[in-house]
């Protein structure tokens, strides 16, 4: 009985992991980068670098700017004040459906800054793949698969304590990949479990809507307003004469909330039902900070102060905050970032175990199977996504600031590089040459980020930012250099392995020796 049970669990772990692994890898890379989404957005706005944001901001003027660009029937205006992590004044118009319109302003000049996909691109990618509702459901399914893979992984790992500290990279092939998978999986287990569980839990109302729809008779909006102690009033369809001067309210809002104001929003801004609300940021406690005050946009009278949250909602905000890591400062973000990288290694090495385990059998049988597809997908996704991300950062510096639809071009570069990398990985000759090649390309791309930055942006490159003590910006370049070194090390390791005589090698790596030598010298040139 026990035998069949653990075999069943092993089967489930293998196939649940493989089927969802590539998608999970994309989600993990996106989420890991999104630990520093605001810092990355700032890095991608070189127009702001070296400038100090102005402390006094004319909010009414900012709202007027939004009124000028708003399409008919806006749902809400949002303005986020400059902060240490995001020095731009961010403002946007949201609609009931469709994409929002945004303007980011340099407060030192009052000018709009060139648009960029920013770190937000990776943040959005990791929770909905830029595909709205459908993407969110797909990511949710991936998260649930990950929970299955984690639990079955614990069940089938018979030496979980005995092999707690065990890593044998020298043994090569399947053994080395499996050790790497087990090591990052077991030692990072609390993080993986937490991040998968809270990630799914954030969208619980969307993933499991049955109870909610029954209790609220299908009115989801009403549930949210009640649960988050928010305030919403129905539209009157009477035009609002003018929005009450927001700057007059901000001192009162700060006092009522007892914390610095980080954003202001105007709901139903064209209607007499319009409200003005203020809130703070999430930096002070683990749980999300949803304390808000609401004022009537007609006359500035106080309508509602939120704060009476029930314990269920408090639990929800705690789980969400635990996932998002907006508290604890950059120290916690670094811990999450490195743990996220460990998660990426866990997923990638797990899929490589699948390949390594079957390498011998496939080589002997010589028959066509899904083996080549898995191998190509491993290379294309695991090798291609970091490459595409690096290309996007390089594109940010090379696309002219005046170009229309600049953010779309950045995303276009990301997609194009990834597609090319995947096609390249699908060529049988490239595929069988394996990882060294892709590691080397990634090392070059990561190394290019600080170099292109140095060549194009006098206020942004690593020497200028370190001289100013602007470590958030310097951190992006330095992290790119660290990734470059890491990829180069892996590449060299793979090439060294491929050069060994076939009798010494175990597992995969049927690379032609001549090719590997050529690659290695090519790497040495860079």
């Amino acid at each position: 009985m026990k035998n069949t049970f653990s075999q069943a669990m092993a089967w489930l772990h293998t196939w649940a992991g493989l089927v969802i692994g590539w998608l999970l890898f994309v989600i993990f890379v996106g989420g890991t980068i999104a630990c520093f989404d605001k810092e990355l957005t700032h890095w991608m706005q070189p127009a702001l670098h070296g400038k100090t944001p102005v402390a006094n901001i004319d909010l009414s003027r900012t709202i007027e700017g939004l009124q000028r660009i708003a399409k008919p029937h806006p749902h809400a205006y949002y303005v986020t004040l400059p902060s240490e992590r995001s020095p731009a004044l961010q403002s946007a118009v949201y609609y009931d459906a469709g994409p929002h319109d945004a303007i980011n302003i340099d407060t030192s000049t009052g000018q709009a800054i060139p648009e960029t996909a920013g770190g937000e691109f990776f943040f959005t990618l990791h929770y909905n793949l830029h595909s709205e509702t459908w993407g969110m459901y797909i990511v949710g399914i991936a998260g649930m698969f990950m929970l299955i893979a984690i639990l079955t992984g614990i069940v089938i790992h018979k030496r979980i304590f005995k092999d707690f500290f065990t890593f044998r990279p020298a043994s090569g092939g399947q053994r080395a990949w499996l050790d790497g998978h087990n090591l990052t999986g077991v030692l990072g287990l609390p993080f993986h479990l937490m991040i998968a569980y809270t990630g799914v839990a954030i969208f619980v109302a969307n993933y499991m809507p049955a109870g909610l729809l029954a209790a609220y008779d299908g009115d989801v909006e009403k549930f949210y307003v009640e649960a988050s102690d928010s305030y919403e009033r129905p539209e009157t369809h009477q035009p609002l004469k003018s929005i009450y001067p927001i700057d007059k309210l901000i001192a009162d809002a700060r006092e009522r909330l007892g914390q610095p104001i980080s954003w202001v929003s105007v709901h139903h801004p064209d209607d007499t039902s319009a409200t003005i609300s203020f809130g703070g940021d999430h930096s002070r406690a683990v749980a999300w900070n949803f304390d808000q005050v609401f004022y009537d946009a007609n006359d500035g009278k106080l309508l509602h102060e939120s704060g009476a949250f029930k314990s269920g909602y408090k639990t929800y905000t705690f789980l969400g905050g635990l996932h998002m890591a907006q508290w604890g400062g950059s120290a916690l973000r670094w811990l999450y970032f490195v743990l996220g990288l460990a998660g990426c290694v866990m997923i990638a090495s797990g899929m490589q175990v699948w390949v390594a385990k079957r390498a011998k059998k496939v080589a002997e049988a010589g028959a066509w199977s899904g083996y080549g597809l898995v191998q190509a997908l491993n290379l294309g996704v695991v090798g291609g996504m970091p490459l595409a991300s690096a290309a996007m950062l390089i594109a940010n510096r090379l696309i002219p600031a005046t170009m229309a639809e600049r953010a779309s071009w950045e995303i276009g570069v990301f997609c194009a590089v990834w597609i090319l990398a995947s096609l390249y990985a699908a060529i049988p000759a490239v595929r069988s040459r394996g990882w060294g090649h892709f590691f080397a390309i990634n090392a070059v791309a990561c190394g290019l980020i600080p170099l292109v930055n140095l060549a194009t942006s006098p206020q942004s490159h690593v020497f200028a930012t370190i001289a100013r003590g602007d470590w958030a910006l310097a951190g992006v370049d330095l992290t790119a250099l660290a990734l470059c070194a890491g990829f180069a090390w892996f590449a060299q390791h793979s090439f060294a392995k491929a050069r060994q005589p076939a009798s010494v090698r175990t597992g995969r790596g049927r690379a032609a020796r001549g090719d590997a030598v050529v690659d290695d010298t090519a790497l040495a040139d860079h």
Partner: protein
């Protein structure tokens, strides 16, 4: 502070793994003594608890445990890689990291 917490974690995992025959042999030539192994493991657990107290003292009850947990996962990974890639220097590096954190402590506190 984070560096001290992290390096204490490395030291704790170091003691815990040296308390096991398999890893003791990986690092040292002399024979494994089971009684000494028990002591090393007990010390390792003690350090983990001390580390928890340190993080709670530094970050409070709601944030401290999360920091502690994250730092422990990374220090375990760091120690395992260190033990595998640089077995000879590993214990000395672990001791040096704790000492460097203690030496730098007054700089951060002041």
């Amino acid at each position: 502070m984070l560096w001290l917490g992290f390096s204490l974690g490395v030291a704790a995992w170091c003691l815990l793994s040296l308390g096991l025959e398999k890893h003791h042999q990986q690092l040292f030539a002399h024979a494994f003594d089971p009684r000494r192994g028990r002591w090393l493991r007990a010390l390792g657990w003690g350090l983990l608890v001390l580390d928890f107290a340190l993080f709670v003292a530094g970050w409070g009850w709601s944030q401290g445990p999360v920091f502690w947990c994250a730092a422990l996962m990374l220090s375990a990974l760091a120690w395992t890689l260190l033990m595998t890639l640089a077995p000879r220097a590993s214990t000395r590096i672990a001791i040096a990291s704790v000492l460097s954190a203690l030496v730098l402590m007054p700089v951060w506190m002041g």
